[in-house]
Amino acid sequence: MSDEYENKSSYQAQSSETISGTGSGVSPDIDYVRPAENPEQDLYHAHSFIEKWVFCQDAKVIGVQYFLTAVFTGVVGLILSWLMRLQLGFPGLAGFITAEHYYQFVTMHGMIMVVYFLTALFLGGFGNYLIPLMVGARDMVFPYVNMLSFWMFFVAVAVLMASFFVPGGPTGAGWTLYPPQTILEGTPGHGWGILLMLISLSLFVIGFTMGGLNYMITILQARTRGMTLMRMPLTVWGIFTATVLAMLAFPALLVSSIMMTLDKLLGTSFFMPTILKAGEVLEYGGGSPILFQHLFWFFGHPEVYIVALPAFGIVSDLISVHARKNIFGYRMMVWAIVGIGALSFFVWAHHMYVSGMNPWFGFFFASTTLIIAVPTAMKVYNWILTLWRGNIRINTVMLWCLGFIVTFVNGGITGIFLGNVSVDVPLSDTYFVVAHFHMVMGIAPLMVIMGAIYHWFPLVAGKMLDEKLGKWHFWTTFLGAYSIYFPMHYLGFIGVPRRYYEMYDSPYMTSGVGLNEFISTAAFIVGAAQLILVFNIVKTMKTGKKAEKNPWKANSLEWFTSTVPPEHGNFGERLPVVHRWPYDYNVPGAEEDYLPQTAAPSEVAHTEVEKT
């Protein structure tokens, strides 16, 4: 065996004695932690530049790679949204935006933002970076597969982006890709565009599966000593549950993509009934378009929680750290996350109330949909109850969290409108829906991402982002985004349907013209405001002040690595041993206002800890 493998057998068997309480007169027994079940992980260290930065097997580097790739797609999505808003607010101003182009923009914007931006960012980016650190593992359990996962994602993105340049352009079928129109003439990009989209999605699913297995097994099987599931930070819980959802929901996407590809290429009729186009009967027959919708939403609804749950988890941690208070009702939070995850498989057809499916399904799905509101509500209550009687640092990170709460509650409640089947009838397929999901998915998780960037930047880069710029960034983004989407609900009430290239000739819109112009202007400003963040990052990297270790005085393990930023293997010689949950802030009797997860009971003998 060559020296490329670390041979750490010397400290493989950490016994409880070697780490237990240092004096303080209490029996070392209370610090007892069971011996290691997992042997020291065998890490493959990079030798060359390529192994270190390109085909890297270190989850942290992979996380950053995921993050950057996802942000790149996000910027593409943002630019597309600008173009859309340009057309909607000021039709005809940009002559090059034809109806075809508009629909291509909408489709790519939706798909990129949901799948390639948010899903990849939360699970691939934050998941890879934070999971091993937070559960106290040296790396993901299968670093090689993890590396493949990123590159598969990268190829998927490349294929997706390639579709902008093929004849006919990218698909313009709407991100829901409903057949039959997806693959028929009359829809932009019905040739190459849709094929590349389907291929890219399949690659994404395969790549994600490789990553997802890693996240799941790392969390289930590779935690450090003392780290029980109920001592994991909620971030990990959120990412974990989202991963489980993804593992079970993406298969439906994969299957529907495969079937649609066959319909397109081989002329099968899974989703295609008899169709008459331009007076000619096509060679399809007998298929069912609604079947696709079921498959799609069986994936699609869990998917929206896949982007929501990590946000829920992360925001809980951020709030707790910066309110200097334990998260309120941790157990309830965990059960809520798991419950929301489980329930999300039983609500899919609330997207199909007016799709012409069996009408009796309405009763079932309306009930299950509204039941989901209960665990979600508990989470909201617990966030604000965490603030209550806390000692809240009103810094940039906290501002993003507060912004999240406002936008999420707003969007969640509009979700209740839509979930209630007969209320959905008039609102479905109008801008009310667009407003709902941007509030709850476009803005709320984005707030969390931003908060997380400000929170963990010191860990990743070792420098503190500028607070002043951060606050400017927050207020422009929050106020701007709120003024985009709050008024948009009212367009829906007027009856403006979504996916309309323009409708100024319609009597409904005469009153909505000014509103649309306002929304578009706000969208331009908000998008441009993201440059503040870019500027902040560049400036900080150049001149920013160096971060001390654990600058926020947080408890969870990622701040207790041997170096900042953490190196390969995360924790130096010895893995940390965990004695408590990560939320021991302001514990009565403790000297500091925080007790790290690694603090042994005997070290802090005089505290009155309620839960460990």
Partner: protein, 236 residues
């Protein structure tokens, strides 16, 4: 597999044991190898893939007004001059179950570190798998000969051909991948990689007989899926 001993932790059986395992630190599946846990979760995900295929098939079949071909006639084979319904399918089932059995034994001998037996049994499994793929190829070509295409067929509803080729094709792909891996593992067993803990070619992980069990799980899963396809596609 069965209960390991974890120091300082009393393993209990049943639901109480489950609650205790779940609430414990470090691992939830006590004594389960990372790779094995990973394979199980992958199979769970794959189950959803096949379920979606079969559900689509069920919905498609239930809603075509056109007549669905009778599989028992379509898949009949002439034997001694009489058409025997589903003969080939029955043989395929037989072959796959046989290979599943040899695989189960291979895993057993792997754990007993019986290199020879383990290797031969894996080889037998691989050959079984190969036979299955061959028979499937024969079945496909026979149907194609009779005019069945993914987009049409002479017997009735066009979806029959579509679902047939798609589902058996997807299953066949799984079998083929399995066969490739079986041959690779067969080589590795005979070469003694698992006895010496030689590192993998790509992953650089130390070899271990547990990998045979992991492959075994996959192989049994392929068999399991066939049970469902047999019931829903051929017997319905």
């Amino acid at each position: 597999m069965s209960d390991p001993k974890i120091e300082g932790f009393e393993l209990e059986k049943g639901f109480r044991g489950m609650a205790k395992d779940t609430g414990s630190d470090q691992t939830m599946f006590k004594g389960v190898h990372w790779g094995k846990a990973m394979m199980w979760i992958f199979l769970l995900s794959d189950t959803f893939v096949f379920s979606c295929f079969l559900i689509a098939y069920m919905k498609g079949r239930a809603s075509t007004p056109a007549e669905w071909p009778n599989p028992s006639e379509v898949f009949a084979l002439e034997a001694f001059g009489v058409p025997v319904p589903l003969l080939l399918i029955a043989l395929m089932t037989f072959v796959l179950i046989t290979s599943s059995g040899t695989m189960a034994l291979a895993v057993k001998y792997g754990y007993e570190r019986n290199r020879k037996m383990c290797g031969y049994l894996i080889l037998a499994t691989a050959l079984g798998g190969l036979t299955f793929v061959g028979m499937q190829a024969y079945e496909w070509s026979k149907l194609i000969h009779e005019g069945v295409r993914p987009w049409e067929n002479p017997f009735g509803a066009a979806q029959f051909g579509s679902f047939f080729f798609m589902i058996t094709g997807f299953h066949g792909t799984h079998v083929s991948i399995g066969v490739i891996f079986l041959f690779i593992y067969c080589y590795k067993v005979f070469a003694g990689h698992y006895d010496e803990g030689k590192r993998g070619w790509f992953t650089k992980m130390k070899g271990d007989y547990v990998e045979v069990e992991i492959l075994g799980l996959y192989w049994h899963f392929v068999d399991l899926v066939w049970v469902f396809i047999f019931a829903f596609f051929y017997l319905w």
